[in-house]
């Protein structure tokens, strides 16, 4: 707390980034999607789906991986960073929904997803997982809010006994965490299932019948990396103490997951006899090697070096590599390696970028508010 600056410049910048977003949203609802984006019949999904949806969901994986590590596997030393991780996941999912409200042609009918079911659609799975998991994350995070309300001495708030909802949520905590893991498993993989409909459009270097498994494993690998990234950032920004052994412990597990991911991808290509594509498909080979070198090979090497795991800066940078590699991968599968209809081109419009940037700034503002007003790193009582 003593480190807090008197004038929060960062907050001003973040707020300034949110304002153009609102203007673009207004424009979209007056003039249609064509007015604020370079999307076309040839490229109906662009930056919003690739970044806000595909990357947003994967980068929210820190929530279920850490909740699993702490509450199911009982690794108590990671407990102090579990709560911020769950909050980030919740915000990630909220962003997905907000981005969809801009991207959809009929956002006011988004609730149709609940009443008109097509159970054969992978997107139905996605929608159900987003709805349920956002609710689960809100409940998982709610003790932080109830604890704070319990301490407040405001006239109306103190009349209510906040111990009651707190105890209720605590009672179902473990079933909630398990539900969160199940939903995340389904949801992370279902984004891969969605691409299974594209055997003719998605480049064979990425298309595979086991694409959902690729998606799940890469999400499990990026979860801890995302937690390292954000907990180190927030410990710097808010002056919380963060033991290096916590982050280096997370860093130690990542190479195993990434190693398995790499083996799976290579074995997959070998089995389908598409190994040659790694070297002879021109720009697609480059994209594949780019994503694998940055996000898989380099982090495996770096996280395995004891010297890297003893240095906070190196741990942070390696985690960033994993995150960049994952973003690279999700852009590849949902945009760059996806054939565009003949006669069309696509490059994101600045207003598309403004929406995405504004939504991320939004999330960072909420994280800042949470660290300011809620017990984020307080040790909670261990359940029995």
């Amino acid at each position: 707390m003593e480190k807090r600056k008197s004038f929060p410049v960062g907050i001003l910048i973040l707020s300034a980034l949110v304002i153009p977003t609102l203007a673009v949203i207004v424009l979209r609802f007056i003039n249609g999607l064509g007015a604020v984006s370079n999307l076309s019949d040839g490229r109906p999904w662009g930056l919003w789906i690739s970044f806000d949806l595909y990357c947003g969901v994967a980068l929210a994986a820190g929530g279920f991986t850490l909740a699993g590590i702490v509450y199911i596997f009982g690794r108590e030393k990671y407990r102090p960073i579990a709560r911020p991780a769950i909050l980030t996941a919740f915000l990630g999912y909220t962003l997905v929904i907000l981005a969809l409200l801009v991207d959809l042609g009929q956002p006011w009918y988004i609730w149709h997803a609940i009443i008109y079911w097509n159970i054969h659609s992978p997107m139905f799975e996605v929608a159900m997982c987003v709805i349920c998991y956002t609710a689960v994350l809100a409940l998982e995070f709610s003790p932080a809010v109830f604890e704070r309300l319990n301490e407040l001495d405001f006239p109306i708030i103190r009349r209510f006994n906040w111990q009651i909802p707190l105890r209720l949520v605590r009672a179902v905590q473990i079933p909630l965490i398990i539900a969160g893991i199940v939903l995340s498993t389904l949801h992370q993989s279902s984004l891969g299932s969605m691409l299974l409909i594209l055997p003719e459009t998605l480049h064979p270097l990425w298309y595979s019948p086991i694409l959902p498994i690729h998606f799940l494993i890469s999400a499990i690998a990026v979860g801890p990396a995302m937690v390292i990234f954000e907990s180190m950032l927030s410990s710097r920004a808010f002056g919380h103490k963060l033991g290096l052994e916590i982050v280096s412990g997370l860093g130690k597990t990542i190479p195993y997951i990434l190693g398995f991911y790499l083996l799976l991808k290579l074995a997959d290509l070998a089995i389908t006899g598409e190994f040659g594509l790694l070297f002879n498909s021109g720009v697609y080979s480059l994209l594949w090697w780019g994503e694998i070198t940055i996000g898989v090979i380099l982090p495996i090497i770096l996280f395995s070096l004891p010297g890297v795991r003893r240095s906070g800066t190196m741990l942070f940078c390696t985690a960033v590599l994993v995150i960049i590699g994952l973003i690279f991968n999700r852009f590849n599968v949902s945009m760059l390696a996806l054939a565009i209809r003949p006669g069309y081109t696509y490059f994101p419009h600045w207003m598309e970028a403004a929406i995405s940037v504004g939504l991320v700034a939004d999330a960072m503002l909420v994280i800042w508010l949470a660290h300011r007003f809620l017990p984020m790193v307080k040790k909670e009582e261990t359940p029995a």
């Binding site: 999307l39 992978p122 209809r341």
Partner: protein, 271 residues
């Protein structure tokens, strides 16, 4: 039972009567376009152009010729758009047409991404935007009429009928004039078969038809969706199991600790 249309590029003269008839029947507005150096116009399908004639300049047997082909929704037998539509706004009817329900659609555009033929279009300039594509004149079919485009065709390049009968007729046409046609009925097997079938004097790749495999594009999705119940139960059971084991281990080690403490101090713990 399933209806189909056979498009014969050998018979097509590129009059674009079908294009006009489609606009007229569906009450679609004209589009402002620019000269692209060809009679082909407009250059792409759009929310106000459900069908168009492509003017292909191809060289065959050393001479340059024009081959015309009609583009519209193929009305697949195993439609990707129907399989993946979140709200079931797209449906494959028994009669053949793949039809779209405005009142269900939320505008996610997954159908546009999923279509192996790149057909569905979107109303990009409207604040309330829907998906638009050829309806196979489902309204006319229901009233016992043929599609507007077929009705307007002056040369018989478009023929409406039962799918199996049209395939048989296409085979006969190829057999009767093997020098005029390539031996391929596009749409008979593509993506598991489509309700629109094509004959051509040149290979279909030269006409800009996408090369699509014979397996329905929906098989891998079906497989993945079928695995969901077992994944759901499996992961839940696994996590519960691990939680139980971890908790039990912790309890045992605590009891052990308490016991050793008891022995050391000689004072019995109350519990």
């Amino acid at each position: 039972m399933s209806k189909a249309v056979l498009c014969d590029s050998v018979k097509c003269i590129g009059c674009r009567g079908c294009q006009v008839a489609c606009k007229a029947w569906n009450e679609l507005p004209a589009e402002t376009t620019t000269n692209q150096g060809s009679f082909e116009n407009p250059s792409q399908l759009s929310a106000s152009t459900f069908t168009k004639i492509r003017f292909n300049e191809v060289s065959s047997g050393g001479k340059l010729m024009w081959v015309f082909n009609k583009v519209q929704c193929m009305h697949c037998e195993y439609p990707a758009c129907v399989e993946i539509c979140l709200v079931g706004a797209l449906q494959k009817t028994e009669e053949g047409p793949v039809i779209y329900d405005d009142s269900k659609c939320i505008g996610c555009r997954f159908c546009m991404v999923a279509c192996p033929f790149g057909i569905p279009t979107f109303e990009w300039d409207k604040p309330m935007a829907w998906i638009r594509k050829c309806t196979f004149c489902f309204d006319r079919l229901s009233a016992g009429m043929e599609p507007a485009c077929v009705k307007s065709c002056p040369t018989g390049a478009l023929k409406f009928g039962e799918r199996d009968e049209l395939i048989a007729e296409a085979r006969e046409r190829i057999a009767a004039a093997p020098d005029k046609y390539v031996d391929h009925i596009y749409g008979e097997k593509e993506a598991g078969g489509t309700s629109w079938l094509y004959l051509s004097p040149v290979p279909f790749e030269d006409l800009g038809f996408p090369t699509v495999g014979t397996e329905p594009v929906t098989v891998n999705v079906e497989r993945a969706m079928g695995a969901i119940p077992s994944v759901l139960v499996g992961v839940a059971a696994l996590m519960s199991g691990i939680y139980w084991i971890v908790r039990r281990k912790r309890k045992l080690s605590r009891e052990q600790k308490e016991e050793t403490e008891k022995e050391e101090t000689g004072i019995g713990a109350t519990e």
